[in-house]
Structures are given as C-alpha cells and as structure tokens.
Homo-oligomer: 187 residues x 2
C-alpha cells in the first residue's frame, strides 16, 4: 500500500524547485495519458503556480486543453526507463497506462490521475492564457493540491537523500542525471 501525504500548498513549489523531470498525466472523456516533460518549473509561491511546455502534437496537449487540468508527477530513478518510454511514444498510438502496467490513482481536486510509484504529485488547473499556449506551447497553471511520499519529502522539506528515492533530471537520448547529495551553504 503506497503512502502519500498531503503537502501544504505554500510548500508545494519545493517539489519542483530543484528542477526534476516530471511526468504529466491528463484525462478527458474517458481517455487518460502520461507523457514526460523536462521543461517545467514553479512560477509562483502563493497561490502556487507552475509553468510547463506541452507540445502541440501530443495527445496530452489535447486532453489538457479539453479538461483544463493536469498533474505533474515526480518520478524517482527506478522510473527513469519508464520516463524515457512514455516520453518517446504517443498516447495516440498506444494506451501507455495499459502498455506499461501503470496504476492511475484518483486525484483529490482534479480528474487527471496521479501515477502510482512516483515520489511527489502536483494537481494543477490551467490558467487561461491562450496566446502563450498557442505561440510557445507553454501552459501556466495553479497548483490546487500536492502530495509526497513521506519517505522522500516530509514536513515541507525533501529528506536529505530523498529517502533513497532520488528524483531525476533528463539530459538527452537515454541520459539522465540523478538528483545528487544535499548540502547546506548557510552553515
């Protein structure tokens, strides 16, 4: 039974602050999908907002535009191969959840599912900005709920070794960096 605890919204930016690669989940009209996104970042603290690039040719783009919602799921290193796979295939051609045996967990505030096995989740509602969506494939969204595996992130902080479940940072090809050692320069 996976554990997932709520993250205070005011701390939710910390789930993305270090720049991990994320998986974007979306749903509309009975279709669900997941894709990888290296290009996401926090956009504001309060209310928390995020920015993410969603290519116009993806099924995710259509589902996000139709539903106005998505979730950002932070995968750990054991999901790196999956991250590459769902970033390489289109949901128009295969049902990626079924093909990879993925488990979709219901979110609390949105209908897009959360992907079981990740270390953190942000439920997001799209902010209507059609110009930047059209011109740059850029989606701005408000974070309406956030969750984390307490072994990795608890009490508003990443545990120093992320509970051994290191997040990942996509480079190119099949290459990633793992999130490395935490250090504190204020001491």
């Amino acid at each position: 039974m996976p554990i997932r605890l709520p993250v205070e919204l005011s701390k939710s930016y910390r789930l993305l602050n270090h720049g991990p690669t994320v998986l974007v989940t979306s749903a509309h009209g009975g279709t669900i999908n997941v894709m990888a996104a290296a290009w996401s970042m926090p956009l504001d603290f309060s209310p928390p907002k995020v920015a993410v690039v969603i290519d116009r040719n993806t099924l995710t783009r259509q589902l996000v535009e139709d539903s106005g919602e998505f979730a950002l799921n932070v995968p750990s290193r054991d999901l790196a191969r999956l991250t590459l796979a769902v970033g390489s295939a289109s949901g128009r051609e295969i049902d990626k959840f079924r093909a990879h045996g993925l488990v979709a967990v219901p979110g609390e505030k949105i209908r897009a599912p959360l992907l079981e096995g990740c270390v953190a989740w942000l439920e997001c509602r799209v902010i209507h900005e059609p110009h930047v969506q059209q011109a740059y494939d850029l989606f701005l969204a408000e974070v309406v709920a956030a969750w984390a595996d307490p072994d990795a992130f608890s009490n508003g902080h990443w545990n120093p070794d992320q509970g051994g479940r290191h997040s990942i940072h996509y480079i190119a090809g099949g290459n990633f960096f793992a999130t490395g050692a935490a250090f504190d320069v204020s001491k």
Copy 2:
C-alpha cells in the same frame, strides 16, 4: 585563464535541460547586476528559447526591461554560497560584483556580462511579451549565443561527471542538491 568554448545553438537547451539553478546577469546604463534564479527552463529547441521568472521588485527586472537582454550563467557547486548570497541581497543596495569580487566577462551578442567561474552561459534576448511579464514576472527569451567550460560540457554533451564541476539545484533556505550521477537507461 578560464576556458570557454561556444556551444552550438541547437544544443544549448542541454545546458538547462536538467534544471540547474542559474545566475541571471544583466546590464543597462553603466549598471550591472547578478541574481539567482531557481525558476528557469528551456522553452524551445530551434530557435532556442528559455523562460525565467524575474521578480518585479528586483534591480535585475529593471535592467532586463530596460536593456531587453540577460545572460543565464550556470554555477557549479563551488559557487553555491555565492548563489545564495546574490539571491539574498538586492543590487539596489550593494554592487554585488564588487562586494563579492566577481569578474564580468563580455558576452558576444549582448551587453549583459557573463560571470566568470561558471560552467555554462546562455546569452538571451527578451521576446516582447508584456502581458506575461506583468502578470507572472515571466520572461521569455531567445538564446543568441551559448558557451560552456569544455571540462564540463563538450561536443554538445555534458561530460558524465561534469568534469567534477557539478551544477546545483536550489531547494530552500541554504539548501541545495548537487547534480548527481549520470546514467543511461537506453542501454
């Protein structure tokens, strides 16, 4: 004598793809400044574009709006303490270059300086999008030149250990993650 080699523009997104924290340098009318930004990301491949959040209360914001230019400098771990310092003080109060003994190197395409000692640099020209600048403190820009320390990044690729000069990922407070081990899931 530091070495800095040009990075092909089509590969320049890779300097930011893994989500490192950056230093934003800017200049206008004889004033130069540097601030830290955890919230930046690539926005497009070709022409390469970036997105970065620049708070409306910063001197950097004024210099970027007045000049239409900035550079993103990727610091390595030995600059983490400096990154925290220039992210905590305002250029309105101190000359951060002078206070920290920083060396500003001229860029090739823009007047904003490059910060010596970093591992990578992207020279950026702001794309005029006043609405997102005003509403979200969000700046979109085209990358017009890019550079890297060849010990860390060469031939369009990060060297697996970044030449021992690991980039950094800001968390909160004085806490960072270092960029960790590279791995390849395609093999």
